[in-house]
Each structure stands twice: as structure tokens, then as C-alpha cells.
Subunit: 219 residues, 2 copies
Amino acid sequence: MSQSAAPSVRTRLVREAERAVYDRAAAYKILDEGFICHVGFVADGQPFVIPTSYGRVGDSLYIHGSAASRMLRRVDEGIAVCVTVTLLDGLVLARSIFNHSMNYRSVVILGTARAVTDGKEKLEALRLLSEHILPGRWAESRQPNEKELKATSVLRLPIEEFSAKVRQGPAVDDEADYAFRTWAGVIPLTLVAGEPIDDARLMPGVKTPEYARGYTRKR
Amino acid sequence: MSQSAAPSVRTRLVREAERAVYDRAAAYKILDEGFICHVGFVADGQPFVIPTSYGRVGDSLYIHGSAASRMLRRVDEGIAVCVTVTLLDGLVLARSIFNHSMNYRSVVILGTARAVTDGKEKLEALRLLSEHILPGRWAESRQPNEKELKATSVLRLPIEEFSAKVRQGPAVDDEADYAFRTWAGVIPLTLVAGEPIDDARLMPGVKTPEYARGYTRKR
């Protein structure tokens, strides 16, 4: 397992190269904070982009495939995908329109996704997906049965060809524009968990667990 | 301008059809709350998915194209794209692993995106993009000059072929599972704006504007 990957021609960033991050550890930190990806694939020449959940384990990304299963019929043989994870961190308001920007962290992975077909491996992949989103939840839940396992699809994508982009910090204006009296600054944006909503049919005495109260993606 | 669109074969949802929303007004409400989309396109047979900002005006989506410009060289002639907007609303924790889900609202648009090349139209498109993200900001900012306009690319995508998916509400468990003592419920998730961070080089006396303090995407 290498700690970094040289960018391929396809993932090398030409524009805004100063925002590029090719370090594997930095990319994994972004992947581990997120849990929703956008999977792109081609069917009959048409690109499709489907949001779904994912989990990372080592140098593999496991992708929950149910939503895309109609499109992914050929997925047993492997399908070329682009998986993109984007974390939005803020609006960057500059004095000029042109220098307005966003603070964000994103990872783009290119590769071939394959369906996990072996029952034991699929169960383990589902566990990893669940643990990625909410550690500890798997053990407390009723486990998948054979029928449910069959109705669920999971794809595995090796993380080999990837790039990451990060934009952080204040607005950068043209020197002449700093004389403008326009307000400039950053409006931070965060995905925040609210107060958990108890299910109406909880068994008597069941309390809201700590992991539901203090849910955060910060890693 | 029609108020609804019949789903095409390509956008009709086969799985989880109960979550499908084909109403144009409902899809536009989702598009208007979001401002980051994931644009999918194909280059040399490989799908790419790039996050970028967008704005909707009438039945058009304007997409900020700078990030993807290397890939979108042929965009003057038009390029087949899939633009997906996803708003995440919560984690849905069921008693069984299989019935775990997410609350979300998403829109998928298929079509041909074309670069806006006319200078006047491009300026107007950039204004609409800016107003979509932060109404009123355009008028306060230093306007784009010729050089900046040339360095910016904007794509227009007509909203013709689209579908939306919405999952809201509590977990739905198998009847037998309601006897489990596992906690179930929803952890709401919201993109929240924090306290604005003033730029270090503001002119003396410039105050943080109201639109930066109370920023919200709720429409």
C-alpha cells in the first residue's frame, strides 16, 4: 500500500493547480469525513451521475449500489466509473465578482467498479459501509438475512487513480480592489446534525443513544 | 413553459418508484435550495464527475464551467451531460440494517450543455449564478471586466429531461422487527452557516452585512 500516487494524465489538474492534493493520506481524510458520493458512469453513450453512500477501507471504496442497479447491469464484469466526494466548507466573498469562490475539499477517483458477489464478502462490505457512516450501529441492529443480502448490491472500487482538490482560507482579491468598501469574508458552511427524532414505535424504555445525539463527521 | 414533464425512458425510476417526483415545480424547489451540482460527462469513453456551482433561471440551468474546462473543450458544440443536485436531510436508523436509509432530495437532469459565448449573455448568466447563491451580492461587488469575462466559462443546460427523488420521514421497519429494543429514529442533517469571518483587509468601518449573518438556503 503506497502512501501517495502520482497523478495520471486523466486526473492531473491543469487549472488551479495550486489547489491540487495528490497525497493519499490527505485524500483519505476527505473520503473518511464524507459518506455521500456521486457515481458517474456511461450507459449507451450517456453519462449518469447518481448519489449514494460509500465507505472506505484501506485502498478500497465500497459503494452502495441499489439506486443505480438498473444502469449497472453489466457491473459484474466491471464498469468504468468516476466517484466524486465533495465537502463544502464555505462561501468566499471577494470584493470582485471574479474572485468569489468556495471553500471545499473534493476527491475524484477513476477506476473500474465491480459488484461484490460472494455472500460473505458482501456481508463484510455492508458492515464496513455501515461502520463508515455510524460506528457501532451494525452490532446493535438486526442483521441482514439471505433475502435482504440478495436484494442489496455493493460495488468495490480500488482507489488507484485519484486526485483531490482543496480550497481553504480567505478571499484573494486583486490588489487594486482592496480599496473598495465592499465587505469581504468567508461564510463557513457545515453539515450539522440536529436533535435526533425518536421513532414513534420504540419499545418502552428505549433511550436515544449517545451516538445519535452527538453525531459529527469531523475526523 | 410546461409545469411538469413526462419521464423519459432514461430518467424513469425503476427501483424505489415511490420516491420519484416528476413535477417540475417540486424539482425546481430542490434546485433552488441547492447551489452545488455534480456534472457528469464523458471524455474518451471515461466518465468524469466534477462539482461546481450553478444557478437556475426559468427552465435553464447555468453551470459554472471553469473547473471542468479542460475536459469540456468541445463544449461550444454542446456536450452530453448529467447534472445531479443532492440535498442531504438526515440519517434514517431502522431496527434492521437493511432498512437503514437516508432522507434526501435529489434532481437528475440529462441534456446537452453549451457554452454561453456571447459577452452580454455571459455577463447576465454570471449575474444569475451570483444571485442564485447570494441575492444582492452582485450589485455590491466590483463587476467583471473583459479579461475576467474571457477567463470564465458558463454553460447553459435546458431543463427538459429530468427526474427527482425524495425520501423523507421516519424509518420503515419490517413488522416483526418492531419488537426489537434497538433504538430507531432520524438524525436530521442540515447545511448550516456559521458566523461570518471578516476579511483581514476590510476598509475601516465596513460592517458585516445582514445577508452574511443570516445566510440560509431554505426557500
